[in-house]
């Protein structure tokens, strides 16, 4: 019995950790979206290539759109859990 309880504890702990992580990410994404939407029109936006230090010039509107999409996806994920 005790072992089962421990098992449950483990899984719940794991899940809560995941949730926390996701929450943090969502917060970050919200900040990002706000920043992007508040940018002046003549500002340049660069996107970092993953795993490297190169930044590619990107379109401001497109980036804003993709970031919003990502935020929606994350929110959905959080709801599912």
């Amino acid at each position: 019995m005790s072992s089962k309880g421990r098992d449950n504890d483990d899984s719940s702990e794991w899940q809560s950790a995941l949730k926390e992580e996701l929450n943090k990410k969502i917060k970050e994404q919200k900040v990002l979206v706000d920043e992007l939407s508040n940018l002046k029109k003549n500002r340049n936006v660069y996107i970092q290539q993953r795993n490297s230090n190169i930044f590619f010039l990107a379109d401001r509107g497109q980036t804003l759109g993709s970031c919003k999409k990502e935020l929606d996806n994350m929110k959905k994920e959080l709801q599912d859990m």
Binding site: S3, Y46, Q49, R50, N51, N53, I54, F55, F56, L57
Partner: protein, 466 residues
């Protein structure tokens, strides 16, 4: 009762430890899976970028200028990539090729991930099982563990106890071949050692065999003493008994086998090898008795002589190299000449006598040919494994030599019949230098007949003038 309780506690401890270990494995798998997931994500990103990279001629980017600084720049040559193959080797390729490589690597990553997830599942199941076991052993006492204790003194040992090699002893095959090296007593010791080690030949058999060999040896010794004390130096001329001849033949067979194929050697049964070597040893001793006078002085050299037959072809130690490049003549080691150096003196003498009849016009051709001629002979000697066994091997292959100089036959000569004679002649001297010295020393004593054989055109002309 108390004991039982103790046992169960012990059991529990073991089970708990088992579970912990399994959990450790699971955690390890998890961390590895995470790592691989990250890698696969990186590859996906790269793939994504590669798909669109050649779409434009150039991209505006921020170029990293150290870890913190950036400066605006342009990315050009968008279809030229350097792909790291590993170990700091790169391959230049196009974006499409790079994509292929990425696909290939992602496949590998996927398979790795699959394997890891499988093992993780497996160990998770095991953890569950161990947990069940824990609950069982904790709750119920009616399950008894069956144990059988193994006492140390009854531990089954097949055959005799193994004896460690002596500090300086070599691997088995080597020791067998080196038996000849040892003195008789030591030989017996060693062979008996071997017997115990192998457990194939019983000690009684071995001793019987040794006694037999000893008797034979004594007999032969006496025979030798009676028959010939005069011909000590030459084995071949000595009136050795037919039995000994047989032995020798067998030995040659053995060595031939070895030379023919090393793979076969490996297949040889240890027992067979042992017996053969046994005969070898006997033969060795009899030979030794035969050439007592020589070998007493240089026992080691004699042994070398014996070994050179067997181990010429395989080099495992620097000593083998030495053996390989040292010819043994009459029990004395003569260092083999480098191909860059001149041939040994005896050979030159030989060629002198045989070519003394050569006509004058041949000289020039010979000088022209001497270099290639020399090459051929030296290569022959380096190839020949049993060169010393047949010193007359050189002249036995005239056609080869002839072919080697076929180019020279075309030369315009008054007498073409002399060419074959030339080719058949034993290895000529590579060195003009030695000869020259001779000439300088005694120019008058040795007129055109001998001296000018190796002389250059100019030298010959000068000599003629004088």
């Amino acid at each position: 009762m108390a004991e039982e309780g103790k046992v169960s506690v012990d059991d529990l401890g073991g089970v708990v430890r088992l579970r912990e270990e399994h959990e450790k494995v699971v955690k390890d798998c998890e961390s590895r899976i995470q790592h691989w997931k990250k890698v696969s994500g990186d590859y996906e990103a790269v793939n994504e970028r590669l798909q669109t990279l050649p779409d434009q001629l150039s991209y505006d980017i921020m170029v990293p200028f150290g870890p913190l600084a950036f400066m605006p720049g342009k990315l050009v040559h968008t279809n030229e990539l350097m792909v790291l193959l590993g170990d700091n080797w790169f391959a230049k390729c196009s974006a499409k090729q790079a994509q292929k490589i990425v696909d290939h690597r992602t496949k590998h990553v996927k398979s790795e991930l699959d394997d890891l997830s499988k093992t993780m599942k497996n160990f998770e199941a095991r953890v569950g099982f161990v947990k069940d076991l824990e609950t069982f052993s904790a709750r119920k006492k009616e399950y008894a563990e069956i144990r059988e204790e193994v006492r140390q003194d009854i531990a089954v040992t097949k055959g005799r106890q193994r004896v460690a090699h002596r500090p300086n002893s070599k691997p088995k095959l080597e020791t067998i071949l080196d038996l000849k090296e040892e003195d008789e007593e030591e030989n017996q010791e060693e062979s008996s050692d071997e017997g115990s080690r192998k457990g194939i030949v019983t000690e009684e058999e071995l001793w019987a065999r040794l006694d037999e060999l000893e008797k034979l040896e004594e007999l032969e010794d006496e025979q030798d003493r009676l028959s010939d004390n005069a011909d000590m130096n030459s084995e071949d001329t000595s009136s050795s008994s037919s039995e000994e001849d047989k032995e020798k033949g067998r030995r040659f067979c053995f060595s031939c086998k070895r030379i023919e194929s090393e793979a076969k050697l490996d297949l040889l049964e240890p027992k067979k090898v042992r017996i053969n070597t046994g005969k070898n040893t006997m033969l060795k001793f009899s030979e030794r008795k035969e050439q007592k006078e020589i070998l007493k002085r240089k026992k080691k050299n004699g042994h070398n002589n014996g070994l050179s037959h067997h181990e010429l072809h395989k080099i495992t130690t620097p000593a083998d190299i030495y053996r390989l490049f040292v010819d043994v003549k009459n029990g004395e080691p003569v260092p083999r000449k480098s191909i860059l150096k001149s041939r040994s003196r005896e050979n030159s003498v030989c060629s002198d006598t045989s070519e003394s009849s050569a006509a004058d016009y041949e000289e020039r051709r010979l000088t022209g040919r001497s270099f290639s001629h020399d090459e051929a002979t030296t290569s022959d000697t380096s190839d020949g494994v049993t060169e010393e066994d047949s010193p007359t091997g050189g002249p036995l292959h005239p056609p080869n030599r002839f072919e080697a100089f076929s180019g020279m036959v075309v030369e315009k000569d008054p007498m073409t019949s002399a060419v074959p004679h030339m080719t058949i002649a034993p290895p000529a001297l590579p060195t003009i230098l030695e000869r020259r010295q001779e000439e300088v020393a005694v120019p008058e004593v040795a007129p055109p007949q001998q001296a000018p054989k190796k002389v250059s055109k100019f030298k010959a002309a000068r000599l003629q003038r004088t």
